[in-house]
């Protein structure tokens, strides 16, 4: 045994127990054991790092960091030490140190392939594209292996995609191209994945000609031979020809594809649009409109059972001929495929092209033809359901009187009941085709409820959906509809349980979060809202790690297209608007629910994770709308359906509202910081590095900047809300429920907060004058107005279910305002007592606790300010009790009154402290 390996085995024997203790989670023992070993061998790097792991897990991060930095400065090359240290830095959330660590190791052993690989991957985790590129190149120099070379190329591509577009065009992409070409000419371009990267580069360069040259050349031909990439190659060829507007080639390639895959829809649409372009541009071509028609008819003959060729004819006729020719084709398509559940969706696009008269004629014809047909099997049910959906889409159930609509509902129910015997054998996990009768009926009832405000329609609607669920418990369309209904009436707990039964989790929380996210707060279910928001935020917090892991996997497997795709995903989630919303609401809820006295507020504020304001102020309106509004079914006529404009308007409002709330949270937090002269943790870290401690002046500046941002943002909101008429609130079941800015303004929340922040900042500047006193005297004036508005609503419309959600929303805003005001009262009191280094005030622990001399004349104003707020709180409580009395479903408000008591307690506590 050589000396080296003997040493190794001794070391391993000594470390083994420490590893075991760490694995078992017994960190105390691990620490003891490590100390024991270190007594004999104080320089043992790996052991020192393992000790740090134990320390970190015992909550002694600071102590661990000191040791780790010491080991880091020694540039360890011991494999065990490096591995353990990687884990330690990761647990300390300092991935940058892992790079540093491998940089040190590589410096000592520049030929070590493994260290270089680790260094590369550690840069990937941080998204250091430039350094990645160099590390991969060094790796390639050490070990001439193709993957390393292409890692370097891909890192260049990432600089192009994620960086400055101008540089991408002039520097990064041309260089990447050259690098790949070099491999190609020297005959070293071998792997399929490398060719894919080649194609990706040319695609990004928008160099379609070269792209096609690769695809049509030996590399592309070889790639297309593999079943894995055949479709990919074909799709790219078409895409590149499309981009270079070579319609002849597009037509030719689509045709080839259709010969092989006669049901591939994208090939039909590409083919037909290419023929249209050729025709419009009067290019002489083999692909004329006539030829295209002939071809599609021949496809029908050779594949009569496939839907593609038949629907393609509709596409062809509507694109190249006249929509007047569509009706007989639609009839024909319906007769062929009506037993498939998807037929209505197939036809909707073409139905929408017809005018009202044509639509009416079509529906009459279809109805005459099919209404007497017996329904004996599932296919027959589908046919009838398609017919009903089509008839709704063509406007047959709009502009009807209520009595007619009621007849329609009854008819749909009768249909539903009459076919139940056919579906009794279906398993409970299957969706039953006749359920669609109920869903459609529920849409009609929703409309009637909205136009008449008559409760019976709501009751009927929910009853019908619950009945449907009792036989078809997995039908999510019915559940989604129920969630919407419950949201309108403010029954958040019911929405929540329906939502839970749908098992909506992971990414669905982002795309379907709009269904429940804020609605829980607005219905007064603040505990559930907080729980739900935390759960949602977790999704986003894991994105960076999850995506980094798989970007690394993708580098290892050379799936370069996917690397780019995963980066896009990361970005889409990191900038998700829903994330911003839920993160802000969660923190506001924490502040409101978990604090009863000022010290708790201070503590809570110190926990907040507030994003960087410089970045937020630039990016708040660049957030992405990831809401999925298509999963909820609807067969509304196209003129009445949910339009893109409606979704966009709703999103703009969402953005304005979320930003207001974000600023509100940040401003309140910064007021609390100021009152305690305390520095947010994040800033403490950065300040220790440059040695500056933010002074009370900088805290004050921060508060004043945020306050003026809030002020100006809020005035924009008010302008927007007066300038635009928001769409009717519950126009369609599918429509997103966006908070109304004018209702929010009516609650007086932001105005009140601005007033109170004004008071705090005047006191901090020792402006003990009439104006300050006046401001203090008027702090609750906006809330009083809000209360009045609420009171009149409770008098006139609280019995109306349709308005109940909106009333509860007002109640919640007012409650929040009282709670947040209480926190700001705590801030004011703390300042009066000499906190926050108010100018001229004596700072320090001794001075604090009693009212400062200079503020003594404000005590009365403060007391009456508290009194005013307390009055608001008790009036609000009275109003909620009245509301409760008005509402039969008492459960809706139990949470509300609970919260009102909380707010009351806060105020009582604050008052007691004066």
């Amino acid at each position: 045994m050589s000396k080296h390996s003997a040493e190794n085995s001794v070391a391993e024997r000594r470390l083994r127990p420490i590893y075991d203790w760490l694995d078992n989670g017994n960190n105390k023992k691990a620490l003891q054991e490590a100390d024991k070993v270190l007594k004999k061998q104080p320089d043992f790097q790996c052991c020192r790092v393992l000790k740090c792991l134990a320390l970190i897990r015992l909550g002694k991060e600071g102590e661990a960091e000191v040791i780790l930095n010491k080991v880091l400065s020694e540039s360890p090359v011991d494999e065990g030490a490096l591995q353990a240290m990687t884990i330690a830095w990761r647990e300390l959330q300092q991935p940058g140190k892992i790079c540093q660590m491998y940089e040190g190791a590589v410096k000592k052993e520049p030929q070590n392939e493994e260290f270089l690989t680790h260094l590369f991957m550690s840069y990937v985790r941080l998204g250091e594209y430039k350094k990645q590129q160099l590390a991969a190149m060094n790796l390639y120099k050490v070990a001439i292996k193709n993957p390393y070379y292409f890692w370097s190329v891909m890192s260049l591509v990432l600089q192009a995609v994620e960086g400055d577009p101008a540089l991408a065009k002039t520097v990064h992409l041309p260089l990447a191209h050259k690098m790949v070409q070099k491999m190609e000419t020297s005959g070293k371009l071998e792997q399929e994945q490398e060719v894919l990267l080649y194609i990706l580069i040319l695609e990004l360069k928008e160099d379609w000609k070269s792209g096609l040259a690769v695809l049509d050349g030996p590399l592309g031909i070889k790639l297309a031979k593999s079943a894995s990439y055949r479709n990919f190659c074909l799709a790219k060829r078409v895409e590149f020809h499309l981009a270079s507007e070579d319609w002849e080639e597009v037509a030719k390639l689509s045709r080839e594809e259709l010969d092989r895959l006669p049901d591939q829809w994208s090939a039909y649409t590409q083919f037909i649009s290419a023929v249209k372009e050729l025709k419009d541009k009067e290019v002489t071509s083999t692909y004329t409109a006539e030829e295209a028609e002939e071809f599609i008819l021949s496809q029908q003959t050779s594949h009569p059972a496939m839907r593609g060729p038949w629907l393609a004819q509709l596409e062809l006729v509507s694109t190249l001929q006249s929509t007047a020719l569509l009706p007989p084709l639609i009839l024909d398509y319906f007769s062929k495929f009506s037993t498939k559940p998807v037929t209505f969706s197939d036809l909707a696009k073409y139905l929408a092209m017809l005018d009202t008269k044509q639509q009416q004629e079509l529906v009459t014809q279809l109805t005459n033809q099919y209404c007497d047909q017996p329904i004996n099997n599932i296919g027959d049910i589908c046919r009838d359901v398609n017919l009903v959906q089509l008839s709704r889409f063509c406007g047959n159930m709009t502009n009807l009187s209520n009595s007619h609509l009621e007849v329609e509902v009854t008819r749909l129910l009768a249909k539903y009941n009459s076919v139940q015997h056919i579906v009794t054998d279906m398993v409970s996990t299957d969706l039953r085709p006749p359920d669609n009768y109920l869903v459609l009926a529920s849409h009609l009832l929703w409309d009637m409820w909205n136009t008449t405000k008559e409760e019976k329609y709501f009751m009927q609607c929910t009853a019908l959906l619950y009945t449907g669920l009792s036989t078809s418990p997995s039908n999510w369309q019915m559940k989604l509809m129920l969630i919407k209904l419950m949201n309108v009436v403010g029954a958040g707990a019911v929405s929540y349980s329906l939502h839970s039964s749908l098992d909506i989790k992971h990414l669905m929380l982002d795309t379907l979060g709009w269904l429940l996210g804020r609605q829980l707060s607005f219905s007064g279910q603040l505990g559930l809202a907080s729980q739900h928001a935390s759960q949602t935020v977790k999704l986003y917090n894991h994105v960076n790690k999850d995506t980094a892991d798989h970007i690394i996997t993708a580098f290892r497997s050379g799936t370069f297209y996917q690397i780019r795709d995963i980066y896009k995903l990361r970005n889409r989630l990191a900038t998700s608007h829903h994330f911003l919303t839920m993160d802000t609401e969660r923190q506001l809820l924490d502040l409101l629910l978990e604090t009863s006295i000022h010290t708790q507020a201070v503590q809570m504020v110190s926990y907040l994770e507030l994003a960087d304001e410089d970045k937020d102020s630039k990016d708040w309106d660049k957030r992405k709308d990831n809401r999925d509004m298509n999963t909820m079914a609807s067969w509304d006529p196209s003129a009445l359906g949910l339009t893109k404009e409606m979704v966009d308007t709703s999103f703009q409002t969402e953005l304005l509202y979320s930003r207001t709330r974000q600023l509100l949270l940040k401003t309140i937090a910064s007021a609390v910081y100021l009152s305690e002269d305390m520095v947010p943790i994040k800033e403490t870290n950065s300040s220790t590095t440059n040695g500056e401690v933010p002074s009370s002046t900088s805290l004050a500046t921060n508060l004043s900047n945020l306050t003026s941002s809030l002020q100006s943002h809020w005035s924009t909101c008010c302008q927007v809300s007066t300038a635009t008429t928001p769409p009717a609130r519950h126009a369609q079941p599918k429509a997103p429920s966006t908070p109304s800015l004018s209702s929010y303004s009516q609650s007086g929340q932001v105005a009140t907060m601005l007033d109170m922040l004004g008071v705090a900042s005047r006191i901090h500047q020792v402006q003990v004058d009439t104006q300050t006193k006046e401001l203090m005297g008027e702090c609750s004036k906006h809330l009083v107005l809000g209360l009045e508005a609420l009171a009149s609503k409770i008098d006139t419309s609280s019995s109306k279910l349709l308005e109940r959600g909106e009333i509860l929303e007002q109640v919640v805003w007012l409650l929040e305002s009282v709670g947040l005001s209480a926190i700001l009262c705590g801030v004011v009191l703390s300042l009066i007592r000499g906190g926050g280094g108010a100018k001229g005030g004596k700072k320090g622990k001794k001075g604090k606790g009693a009212v400062q001399q200079q503020f003594s004349e404000l005590v009365n104003s403060y007391t009456s300010m508290l009194g005013d707020l307390q009055e608001v709180a008790s009036k609000l409580l009275e109003l909620t009790e009245k509301l409760e009395a008005n509402i039969s479903a008492e459960s809706l408000v139990t949470n509300m009154s609970g919260l009102a008591v909380d707010a009351d307690e806060i105020l009582a506590n604050e008052a007691g402290e004066v």
Binding site: F232, S266, L311, K340, V342, D346, G379, I504, H506, Q562
Partner: protein, 174 residues
């Protein structure tokens, strides 16, 4: 009729109409990314003419020597798009890719209670190779059938000869 193409990250934001199905598991992000990053060619989605996602299949290839095989991790079709033979088409696509990679067979796991799925796989030529005890955990643990279909490489169809007795999960070597 559909457009068959590779699954992309953006599809994750649009597949609710398929994944709300109670028999289709909604996994964490990491699960889908793992398949996309390693076996993108095995992750296919079908899109309808109206632009809705209809169904998808995800799978992989793994194993050594005569165990080198394609595996179907999930195949699912949204309710509106059933009765169109789509699952069939997706399975064929996966088999074709596995064949071109010289796999010996394709296999999949299915709950022994899921009669509909079992008969569907039977029709496609899959047979029960073995029973895996307590493969599915939950309120009530459930056994799985490991079903297989031999590919061109397996000339003598050795890979699908059923085992005599069930195996435990720990005995699965891949």
């Amino acid at each position: 009729m559909s457009t068959l193409r590779q699954f992309t990250c953006d599809d994750l934001f649009r597949f609710n109409g398929i994944n709300l199905d109670p028999l289709t598991e909604m996994y964490g992000l990491s699960f889908y990314l793992q398949y996309m990053a390693r076996w993108p060619e095995y992750f296919m989605v079908a899109e309808s003419p109206s632009g809705d996602l209809m169904g998808y299949i995800m799978g992989k290839s793994e194993g050594q020597n005569e165990n080198w095989h394609g595996h179907v991790t999930a195949v699912t079709v949204g309710p509106e798009h059933r009765r169109l033979g789509l699952a069939n088409q997706l399975m064929e696509g996966l088999e074709e890719i596995s064949d071109s990679k010289n796999c010996y067979f394709v296999d999949l796991f299915v709950r022994v209670s899921n009669k509909i799925a079992i008969s569907f796989y039977n029709k496609l030529g899959y047979t029960v190779y073995r029973t895996v005890l307590q493969y599915y955990s939950g309120e009530q643990d459930e056994d799985a059938y490991d079903m297989r279909k031999a590919l061109t490489m397996d000339v003598n169809k050795k890979s699908v000869v059923p085992l005599d007795s069930p195996v435990h999960m720990e005995e699965l070597d891949y």
